[in-house]
């Protein structure tokens, strides 16, 4: 029997970036198929192609053996494809049944919505899924797990035969995930073909029959789950050589300048303790949602923490007080450049001075001359490409925007620099520059804590790697011990 859905040699490029290269994948009725790979390996692009959002540049999509070309997400839906997103709700003010039948409400005479039929059929769907959920419940305030069930019920209501679950368990508790697995098995038993995406290897082993691994947009392997062991799977996901992207300089670590002890915020992170010394780059790795950024935000004082202490250069920082953190010599290049790092509408010079307005002032007045010269100095030192210092920061390219953020923080002359995803969304050239800068800063004695979802970046730049898993530090690896497999193993919570 032909597979329910098949990708054959599919390639897809976005501009100069090749997202997928010759990916083939077959989803069979009654089977749950795992799609594995690092962040950026191309999994989301596969999902979007199956869901009809993107068209392949090369290769073809086949439905029951027949080549098809989806005219868009709605077309794909009509042909029986449903995609369940990680955080799905669409209409929080409507109730469960209204969401399930959104756009396809059963009608009675006079084109009025037949509410009774709608509630009855929703209840039937939940019965099939074995989940007790009240169709009349408002969706606002429902857990993400319940919202996903609604999406699945919606898929069933459209008689979807191909169901894609895009990292559904990332935000679920273990109990909720178990319930989701039961539902997935029921769907498969009823003849649907499922594609399941997850970072958690143990889930793939317990749920899926087959796995396809992507790396850098290319298919690495496609095996039956029973034929591939844990180590081989991890290696096939990450096994790429560390490129010369990382101009790492050897440095001698000096005194301890950032000390974190027993940092705890219930439900977010627990008992996080570590130290960073002068001249050292410490990488903080882990999956999305493992609590890395949250720890950094709590250290800096943006978020609250329940207990634990943070000491910068001998000074104990008060809770929730970024100003005190800055005064003590801490700087933080945040994760979201546009919303947290910069004010896009303000000129470059005013962005640069924002974290140290006191320092460019005299007698309580901002000296714009001083402000300008500080901005000009950092623009020069970081090789910023710009028109004038009075241009809004939003007119710069991503890499140059990041340089403005770095300049803004380096101008505060920090002892400790926290960088959260320092190279996200910037081009290769700028990336290398940022890496070289971090290396130079460490060599000049700065302590750097680097959070990154990109394993090669962490491994290439860090002297030590801390790996977080579910809010705790799961492993601390020296530069010699740290390799992609070891980090991934700790990050996914599998035993070493």
């Amino acid at each position: 029997m032909a597979p329910s859905l098949e990708l054959i040699g599919v390639s897809k490029a976005f501009g100069a970036v090749q997202a997928l290269r010759g990916v083939s994948l077959a989803l069979h009725a009654g089977e749950i198929h795992a799609l594995a790979g690092e962040n950026g390996a191309g999994k989301s692009t596969v999902v979007r192609i199956i869901g009809g959002e993107h068209q392949p540049d090369e290769g073809e999509v086949r439905l029951d053996g027949e080549p098809v070309r989806f005219g868009g997400p709605r077309d794909a839906q009509h042909r029986g494809v449903a995609v369940i997103h990680q955080e799905p709700t669409r209409f929080p003010d409507l109730n469960v049944a209204e969401n399930v039948f959104m756009g396809r409400q059963p009608l009675r005479k006079g084109r009025r919505v037949d509410r009774r039929a709608m509630y009855r059929r929703t209840a039937e769907l939940f019965e099939t899924l074995g989940v007790p959920l009240d169709p009349a419940l408002p969706t606002r305030g429902l857990s993400i797990a319940d919202q996903q069930i609604i999406e699945i019920a919606k898929a069933l209501a459209t008689e979807a035969r191909i169901i894609v679950m895009d990292e559904p368990t990332a935000a679920l508790s273990n109990v909720e995930a178990e319930r989701l697995f039961r539902v997935a098995r029921t769907l498969a038993a009823n003849g649907a073909a499922l594609l399941f995406i997850s970072h958690r290897l143990e889930e793939m082993y317990s749920l899926c029959q087959r796995v396809t691994v992507l790396r850098d947009g290319s298919p690495v392997t496609s095996e039956r789950m029973t034929d591939i062991d844990h180590d081989t799977l991890v290696r096939s996901m990450v096994g790429r050589s560390v490129e010369q992207l990382f101009p790492k300089r050897e440095t001698k670590a000096g005194a301890e300048v950032l000390t974190v002890r027993g940092l705890t915020q219930p439900g977010v992170f627990r008992d996080v303790s570590f130290a960073v010394r002068q001249g050292e780059i410490v990488g903080l790795a882990g999956l999305v949602g493992s609590g890395r950024s949250e720890v950094a935000r709590a250290i800096f004082g943006i978020d609250d923490r329940e207990s634990g202490t943070v000491t910068v250069a001998g000074r104990v920082l008060p809770k929730s007080n970024p100003r005190a953190a800055i005064a003590a010599g801490l700087a933080m290049v945040p994760e979201d450049r546009r919303e947290q790092g910069l004010i896009l509408e303000l000129p470059i010079d005013r962005n640069t001075s924002l974290a140290q307005l006191g320092a460019v002032s005299r007698w309580g007045l901002v000296r714009s001359g001083r402000e300008r010269s500080v901005a000009a100095e950092w623009a020069r030192r970081l090789g910023l490409r710009f028109g004038g210092l009075g241009d809004p920061a939003g007119t710069l390219s991503g890499g140059n925007q990041q340089k403005v953020v770095l300049g803004k923080w380096l101008a505060t002359k920090p002892e400790v620099l926290i960088v959260d995803e320092p190279t996200r969304g910037i081009d290769i050239g700028a990336k290398v520059e940022v890496h070289a800068l971090l290396s130079d800063l460490a060599a000049s004695g700065m302590a750097v804590l680097m959070i990154s979802s990109e394993l090669p970046e962490v491994l290439g730049m860090a002297d030590r790697v801390l790996v977080m898993h579910e809010g705790r530090i799961a492993a601390e690896l020296s530069r010699t011990e740290a390799n992609e497999e070891a980090v991934m193993r700790a990050a996914t919570g599998s035993a070493a």
């Binding site: 501009g15 970036v17 950026g40 953190a325 901002v366 803004k408």
Partner: protein, 339 residues
């Protein structure tokens, strides 16, 4: 950005000069010292309240309760004067009362995180109601003649009150445009998260803006009470509309982050001049309101559409090369939230 704002303020200034010149040339009695004093006095409370509102709007918040704070403080002045308290004691008490009312706004908005629009619409009603509780329907008059001239007399055509307004305006200008706090106001309005990450004490700044607003409203209430020699619970009723109008007409963005003290001051002068010219020209009150209303709409419409046009022109060519920015295309080396 700065050029465009300057342009709006230039337009305002030109309009203002035109209105004043028209008044001087074609309206009898306009250019006389008495009338100029009257014109300036007439909008002095609006000016004080607008200077209080401007920094709040810059941070993206609003305070609609300013005129009700004025009303309450006026009523309190009357009640205390009726009770026989010396005026020298009343003044500091009333100023403190204004600050307290501002503090209540601040706590609700900043500590409890409630939307400032809803909170200050609520306190607009609440404070006005309390004013009636304090003083009832009546009016208190007979304030000491030692102090009344402070609110009514002039040096030549320049009333003392206008000197006070100018001093407050200069202080506002310095604080908003030349101090770290002023920079912080714009930063909060344009990107509150970034401001927090930059160590700007967003909550503390917002709190203090409402305290200042309450204090200035109390000051305006003293001016109002002495000027009319009448303390009433309905003093300044509806004045918040004129204040908001002046701030918006001054080119301040209701969404925060844009606007200048100069613009607001010019807008107040323009509104005062226009009303005076219409008044002298025997234009009815209704028509005056229609004209001010239209002016307000135009003032919001013009800068907004200019900005929209400018942005369209800027963004169209820039859209292409920033492909690497876009979250939804996963690249082999760039990690995005979902794989």
């Amino acid at each position: 950005m700065r050029d465009r704002l300057l342009r709006w303020e230039t337009i305002l200034l030109v309009l203002c000069v035109l209105v004043l010149a028209y008044g001087a040339i074609s309206t009898d009695g306009f250019a006389e010292a008495d009338n100029i004093s009257f014109l300036l006095l007439d909008y002095s409370e609006v000016a004080l309240l607008a200077f209080a509102l401007l920094p709040i709007v810059l941070t993206g918040e609003i305070d609609l309760s300013v005129a009700s704070v004025l009303g309450f403080c006026s009523a309190l002045t009357g009640a205390l004067w009726n009770g026989g308290m010396p005026f020298e004691t009343i003044v500091p008490l009333v100023l403190v009362a204004g600050v307290v009312l501002g503090f209540i706004n601040a706590v609700l908005i900043v500590r409890f995180g409630l939307p400032s629009l809803a909170v200050t619409i609520g306190t607009l009603g609440l404070y006005r109601g309390l004013a009636y509780v304090v003083l009832g329907d009546g009016a208190v008059t007979g304030f000491p003649s030692t102090y009344r001239p402070l609110a009514t007399a002039s040096i030549g055509f320049l009333p003392y009150v206008t000197i006070l307004v100018i001093v407050i305006g200069i202080i506002a200008m310095v604080v908003v445009h030349y101090t770290p706090v002023g920079r912080a106001l714009y930063a909060i309005g344009l990107g509150e998260q970034t401001a927090r990450f930059s160590g700007i004490r967003v909550d503390r700044i917002k709190m203090s803006l409402y305290l200042v607003s309450g204090g200035l409203a109390a000051l305006a209430s003293l001016v109002f009470t002495l000027r009319y020699n009448s303390a009433r619970a309905d003093n300044g009723n509806g004045l918040e509309l004129a204040v908001v109008a002046a701030v918006l007409l001054g080119g301040v963005s209701i969404f925060g982050g844009r606007g200048t003290v100069f613009g607001v001051a010019t807008a107040v002068l323009l509104m005062a001049g226009l009303r005076n010219v219409l008044f002298l020209g025997d234009v009815s009150n209704e028509i005056q309101n229609v004209i001010t209303g239209l002016l307000l709409i135009v003032s919001v419409l013009v800068p907004a559409s200019v900005r929209l046009l400018a942005r369209r022109r800027r963004e169209r060519p820039a859209a292409e090369p920033t492909l690497d920015e876009e979250e939804p295309c996963p690249t082999p080396t760039v990690s995005s939230q979902r794989s």
